[in-house]
C-alpha cells in the first residue's frame, strides 16, 4: 500500500474530535505553530487510525494535533496549534 493512499484528512478525524469538542471543529480554523498557516481542520492531513490520529499541516507537515487512545485515557497533544478559531453559532 502506498503511503499517500493511507493519508486522509481532518474530515476522517471528525468523529474522534467530537469526543473532545461539544461541536464540530472540522470547519474551525487552526493556526499552525510551525509555519503560521491558518486553515480549516478538515484540510489538515491525517495519518494513522489505529490507536489514534495525528493531524499534520499541509504546508509544513508539522504535527498540529495528536490524539492517542490508551486504556482509560484519551491523550491529546495540541501544542502544534497556536490558535483555534471556532465558528460561534
Amino acid at each position: 500500500m502506498q503511503a499517500e493512499e493511507m493519508r486522509l484528512d481532518g474530515n476522517a478525524a471528525a468523529g474522534i474530535l467530537r469526543e473532545l469538542f461539544a461541536t464540530d471543529v472540522t470547519a474551525a480554523f487552526a493556526t499552525c505553530k510551525g509555519c503560521g498557516r491558518a486553515g480549516p481542520m478538515g484540510t489538515l492531513l491525517e495519518y494513522g487510525q489505529g490507536m489514534g490520529v495525528i493531524l499534520r499541516c499541509p504546508s509544513c507537515e508539522s504535527a498540529v494535533l495528536r490524539i492517542v487512545r490508551t486504556p482509560g485515557w484519551l491523550r491529546v497533544d495540541a501544542s502544534g496549534i497556536s490558535l483555534l478559531k471556532i465558528p460561534d453559532q
Binding site: M1, Q2, E4, E5, M6, R7, L8, D9, G10, N11, A12, A14, G15, R18, E19, A22, T23, D24, V25, T26, A27, P40, M41, G42, T43, Q49
Partner: protein, 248 residues
C-alpha cells in the same frame, strides 16, 4: 420524557438495517433506521463500529448518501477485499440486523442549497457517495431555487460497471455529468478514458471567474491532483473543498 443523550454529545447508537440495495458488483447501499437521528447535512458521514466476541473493535467512517430531507440514513459501502469492515457490511449484514453507528459527523465537507453555486462535483470511485447526498438534496429543493444553482459532475471510475448510481445520476444532473473510465471502457464509449487532467477540468468546469463551489472526493492521489489543478486554473482554494477516502 427526558432524553438519555446529552445534546451536542456524540454517542454510539444501534441502528437497524431496514433495506439493502446492491449498487454494483462491489458496492452496496445499507438503509438504516437510527433511533435518535438529529438530522444531517449533505456531505456528512457516520462512524460505524464492529465489535468481535473477544472484544476486538474495528471502526470506520462512511459517507451518507441520502439527502437531509430523508429520515432514514443510507450508506453506500464499497467492498475492499481482505479488509476488516467492508466485507461484513457488504456480504454479511442483512435486513433486520443491528449496526452500531454514531453521527452525523463533519462540518467542513458539507453543502446546502442556500450556499448557492454553481456547484462543481468531482468524484473518484466511491467518493461519489457524499456528493450523491448533495445532488439528491439539490433535486429536492424548490424549483425556483434549484434553477439558480446549476450543477455539474465529473466522475472517474475504473469501468462502466463500477459506476455507482448510474441511472439516477443521469436523471439528477439532467445530463450535466461527465464520466471518465480509467481502466476498462467499451469500444464505443463516448466519454473520457483517462485520469482527470487539466484539459478535462477546463472542459467540464465553469471558469474560475464564475466562482463555482467545488467538492472533490475520492482516493487521496485523485483528490490532491484535482484540487491542485483547480487552484492552478485560478479557482480560489477556499472554494475547493476536499475529502480523501482511504482503504476501508
Amino acid at each position: 420524557m427526558a432524553r438519555a443523550t446529552i445534546p451536542g454529545r456524540l454517542t454510539w447508537q444501534v441502528a437497524t438495517v431496514v433495506d439493502v440495495r446492491n449498487e454494483t458488483a462491489r458496492a452496496r447501499t445499507l438503509v438504516l433506521n437510527v433511533p435518535e437521528w438529529p438530522g444531517h447535512r449533505a456531505g456528512q458521514h457516520v462512524d460505524v463500529r464492529l465489535v468481535a466476541e473477544d472484544g476486538y473493535q474495528a471502526q470506520r467512517s462512511y459517507s451518507i448518501a441520502s439527502p437531509p430531507e430523508e429520515r432514514l440514513v443510507a450508506l453506500t459501502v464499497e467492498r475492499i477485499d481482505n479488509a476488516e469492515v467492508s466485507p461484513y457490511l457488504c456480504d454479511v449484514l442483512q435486513v433486520g440486523d443491528g449496526l452500531e453507528v454514531r453521527g452525523p459527523i463533519g462540518g467542513y465537507f458539507v453543502w446546502d442549497i442556500t450556499q448557492g453555486g454553481p456547484l462543481l462535483l468531482v468524484a473518484g470511485g466511491s467518493g461519489i457517495v457524499p456528493l450523491m447526498a448533495m445532488l439528491r438534496h439539490h433535486a429536492r429543493a424548490d424549483v425556483r431555487i434549484r434553477g439558480q444553482v446549476p450543477v455539474r459532475l465529473l466522475y472517474s471510475a475504473r469501468s462502466w460497471d463500477d459506476v455507482i448510481y448510474r441511472t439516477e445520476l443521469e436523471q439528477l444532473t439532467q445530463g450535466q455529468v461527465a464520466f471518465t473510465l480509467t481502466r476498462d471502457a467499451p469500444a464505443d464509449w463516448p466519454g473520457y478514458r483517462r485520469r482527470i487532467d487539466q484539459a478535462m477540468l477546463e472542459q467540464v468546469s465553469w471558469p474560475a471567474s464564475q466562482m463555482p463551489r467545488a467538492f472533490v472526493c475520492g482516493p487521496t492521489p485523485l483528490v490532491e491532483s484535482v484540487s491542485t489543478l483547480l487552484v492552478a486554473l485560478g479557482h480560489d482554494p477556499s472554494n475547493v473543498r476536499t475529502e480523501r477516502f482511504g482503504p476501508t
